[in-house]
């Protein structure tokens, strides 16, 4: 693609990303939702986080074992209620160290 084509691609990407973000927030303001629907929406963040993490996280590094090491490391750190930054850096380090370790063994 030429630079002009790429710029247009990015602009259309921006448009199709913005619309789903904007429409419910603007249009649902004055609508009183049924309690059942409100309860559903209350559960959405947790459901979404769960679905985002597993199983996609397994394929986020070059090997499943190193990704698993990262997942386990960050889960333990998060369970200990450590700062989010420590959880993220710890997860990266676990995945990195396990990846190196694997190279040495196999």
């Amino acid at each position: 693609m030429t630079t002009t084509e790429l710029i247009w691609t990015v602009i259309f990407m921006a448009l199709v990303t913005y619309l789903p973000r904007m429409l419910p927030l603007v249009l649902l303001r004055d609508i009183k939702m049924a309690p059942f629907l409100r309860t559903c929406l209350q559960f959405v963040p947790y459901a979404l986080l769960g679905a985002l993490i597993f199983p996609n996280a397994l394929y986020s590094t070059t090997s499943v074992p190193s990704a698993l090491a990262g997942i386990c490391g960050s889960t333990i750190l998060a369970y200990l209620r450590l700062n989010l930054v420590i959880v993220v850096v710890g997860g990266i380090l676990c995945a990195y160290i396990w990846g190196r370790f694997q190279c040495v063994i196999f």
Binding site: M22, P24, L25, R29, T39, Y46, G50, I71, Y79, R81
Partner: protein, 252 residues
């Protein structure tokens, strides 16, 4: 600092209703720091796909949606047609529809439509989660602006930094950065599991549904965005059927 180790990551911000801009910035700090390695990784990838600094930063400025940007850069590198990239982006980012609907019930009702249109741009998995997990029932405009702005600035700056740094970083460390996004999700989710059984059950349902869609024949052909939409909405609906009382708020 809003986040103290004793308090737990995402649950720590016990602000009064009508939290201010600076409180939003504080709540956005862990996201901003968490985004940096991911944004740098994005910049590195964009550079290796042959994108210029200008295009990489433009994409982060205008799109501001990590997963879809990673996918788009991959597709560009593969020589995919523009309309396919745009369609994939739409599907991957449709999940924001759910988040936006969920947030529409939490934002102050007095908040006018232009404000809402502005705040909508900053909805990401992370800003949405941090906002949703706030203890106060009503989210104020300035609070959301502070939260989104800090995350946005970090994402844009990090992307640019990644392009500039490309080449200077060992490949094995670059590969390990892919886990950063998920480590952040885990850091947000795990402390919320203490909110009680309904949350745990909903998360388990979502994970099982997502795993089934990922590995079951035929279903695994669905685009990632559809899979996320289906498993998250089904899990939330099932959760509301099993637990009609919903999540117990700390403030109630």
């Amino acid at each position: 600092m809003p986040i103290e180790s004793a308090e737990g990551a995402a649950l720590a911000n016990r602000f009064e209703t009508g939290a201010t801009f600076s409180q939003g910035l504080k709540a956005g700090l862990p996201i901003a720091i968490g985004y940096l390695p991911i944004a740098v990784a994005f910049g590195l990838l964009a550079r290796s796909a042959g994108l210029s600094l200008f295009l990489t930063v433009l994409m982060s400025l205008l799109v501001f949606a990590g997963a879809s940007q990673f996918i788009a850069v991959n597709l560009i590198a593969l020589g995919t047609q523009a309309w396919e990239i745009v369609l994939t982006t739409l599907i991957v980012n449709l999940r924001h529809f759910l988040m936006s609907a969920s947030l529409s019930q939490r934002l102050a009702e007095s908040l006018a439509k232009p404000w809402r249109s502005l705040l909508a741009f900053g909805i990401t998995d992370e800003t949405f989660t941090v906002a949703s997990l706030q203890c106060q029932p009503i989210l104020s405009g300035p609070f959301m602006l502070g939260l989104n702005l800090f995350a946005y600035a970090s994402w844009v700056l990090g992307s640019g930094l990644g392009v500039v740094l490309a080449g200077g970083m060992p490949a094995s460390l670059q590969a390990s950065m892919g886990i950063a996004l998920y480590a952040m999700f885990i850091g947000l989710l795990v402390p919320s599991l203490r909110k009680g059984l309904p949350v745990i059950i909903v998360v388990l349902l979502a994970v099982i549904l997502q795993a089934v869609m990922n590995w079951a024949p035929a279903l695994n052909l669905l685009a990632t965005g559809w899979k996320l939409m289906i498993s998250a909405s089904l899990a939330a609906i099932l959760g509301a059927v099993i637990y009609p009382q919903g999540v117990k708020d700390d403030d109630d």
